[in-house]
């Protein structure tokens, strides 16, 4: 869409975009370019010289057992977070849409975890399930479950999944509820007159109308689980025990900032970059026109 009435001024528009562009160039494009450049170089341990190695860093990363392991962990982690938070949010939104009184109160009571930082969400759940100080952690142990997420990998993964999903439910809930409220009542009424019960109406009328929002949220949740959950992992498990919760973002951080493997970390960054680009393209191509509020 083009505007007809436009100001004519030669210098001003450049001055107006300058601050945003300067930050974009210095802190986004230049470093991203550096990451791509570094990913095809290998530096000696003292940082004195580097040489061009084509795709050796990528080969090294992709044949690294730990990296493949981290890839698998990330897949399990992000799919579980997305499925859990979407499922719970949809269930709650459908109920909130059904109650006549109190829908707004429930909304108020359900949306505030959006404001809780992922790291804090992790810490809250860690407190509850801590094997020595947590009420539920100790409870599980009294029941005979050998619960100790500090030592048991799958249990640690389960804990960070639940904590990450807990924080994201509120976000999904807001969108599902907005979507449900925008579905015209006449549609469900027509289906009811035709004899469809509540369950049938949900699956044949409401859910299909909701699916664009669900798909959009799926992408957003995947991005969240891939990137924003760094805080949860770092604060609660530190990738452990024994790399059981080391998702890709945590590994990039660890290999680059702690283990100082520049080429390997850069190659991992480029792989992550490809994942973000893929997710963003999917989001904009398939979601743009189909979501109605």
């Amino acid at each position: 869409m083009e505007r007809r009435a436009i100001f004519g001024n030669r210098v001003l528009p450049y001055a107006l975009v300058a601050p945003q562009l300067a930050i974009t160039l210095v802190f986004f494009f230049w470093p991203a370019g550096q990451a791509v450049y570094q990913s095809v170089l290998r530096e000696d341990p003292f940082g004195l010289s580097s040489r061009f190695v084509w795709f050796e860093n990528f080969e090294a990363v992709l044949s690294d057992e730990y990296y493949l392991n981290s890839l698998g962990t990330t897949a399990v982690f992000s799919l579980s977070v997305a499925a859990l938070s979407l499922g719970v949010a949809l269930l709650l939104a459908v109920q909130a849409n059904n109650v006549i009184r109190g829908a707004n109160t429930y909304r108020t009571l359900l949306i505030w975890p959006y404001a809780v930082a992922p790291a804090i969400a992790g810490v809250l759940w860690m407190f509850m399930f801590h094997p020595s100080i947590g009420l539920l952690g100790r409870g599980l142990r009294t029941l005979g479950v050998d619960w100790n997420f500090l030592l048991n990998g799958p249990q640690a993964l389960l804990l960070v999944i639940v904590a990450s999903a807990w924080k994201q439910v509120s976000y999904n809930f807001i969108f599902f509820l907005a979507g449900l409220q925008s579905i015209p009542k006449s549609l469900t009424e027509a289906a009811a007159i035709d004899g469809a019960g509540p369950r049938r109406r949900f699956w044949t009328v409401i859910f299909p109308l909701l699916s664009p929002i669900a798909f959009f949220l799926l992408v957003v949740n995947m991005v969240y689980a891939f990137f924003d959950t760094f805080g949860v992992i770092h604060a609660v498990t530190g990738g452990g025990p024994g790399k059981a919760t080391e998702i890709l973002v945590y590994k990039v951080y660890y290999d680059g900032m702690i283990a100082l493997d520049l080429g390997g970390s850069a190659a991992q960054s480029v792989i992550l970059l490809a994942i973000v680009i893929g997710l963003t393209v999917v989001q904009f191509r398939y979601v743009e026109k189909k979501v109605h509020y």
Partner: protein, 282 residues
Amino acid sequence: MVENRPIGRLLAHFILIIGVIVVAFPVYYTFVASTQATQPISVGQISLLPGDQLLNNYAQALSHGVAKTSGTPVGGMLLNSFIVALLIAVGKIAISLLSAYAVVFFSFRLRMVFFWMIFITLMLPVEVRILPTYKVVAELGMLDSFAGLTIPLIASATATLLFRQFFLTLPDELVEAAKIDGAGPLRFLRDMVIPLSRTNIAALFVILFIYGWNQYLWPLLITNSGDMETVIIGIKRMMGGADADTDWGAVMATTMLAMLPPVAVVMLMQRWFVKGLVDAEK
């Protein structure tokens, strides 16, 4: 509801109440723990009713921090977080408003190139360029400073897109009228566009304040001294070391304090928050 189904409604309330409890319980648990003495907490004897150490724990955290692991007072961290969140929110809104204004109301060379450059930053989160960005900030001497904590984060594709979207809905007649009355572009921006954008600005402010407050990876990378730490990363440092040494009462109090400001912003500005969230993702 089409039919009147009291049992179905009752079930709906029941499910919602369970949902509210699951959502609230972790916070309640931390709250009651933050009102109890550290000694019983560390052996797992947490009562589910508030204790009597509330003032003690919060005062201890605010003024001294957790002495055994990191002596940084939480009061200072909260102030850092507040400054960072405010600078990020205001900075993002300001530069996005200006660049969206330029893109919509002017015709100039490279206009679309600039627009796409801003748009593409969506695909370049900090996580994919950790080391090189760190290097740039280090070379500019911005480590351990508010400038370093905020400036690299204030480019915003989302806010720019949102403002652009809104500006495109302003009628051309408005611009014509302003021109006929002799208003230049800056006058038009100040007297028409910004006042009309008030609701959008409020909505964005809520979202961006929370975004800034909750930053984790970035402050972790570029703060080395306790003085510049934000409260979210401060908690992690407090829990460092062996479990037995952790001053749980103060840690729990700090966790509550770290959560309170953004949650309060969401609750108090709920209307703008929901609008901002839904608009920003459109």
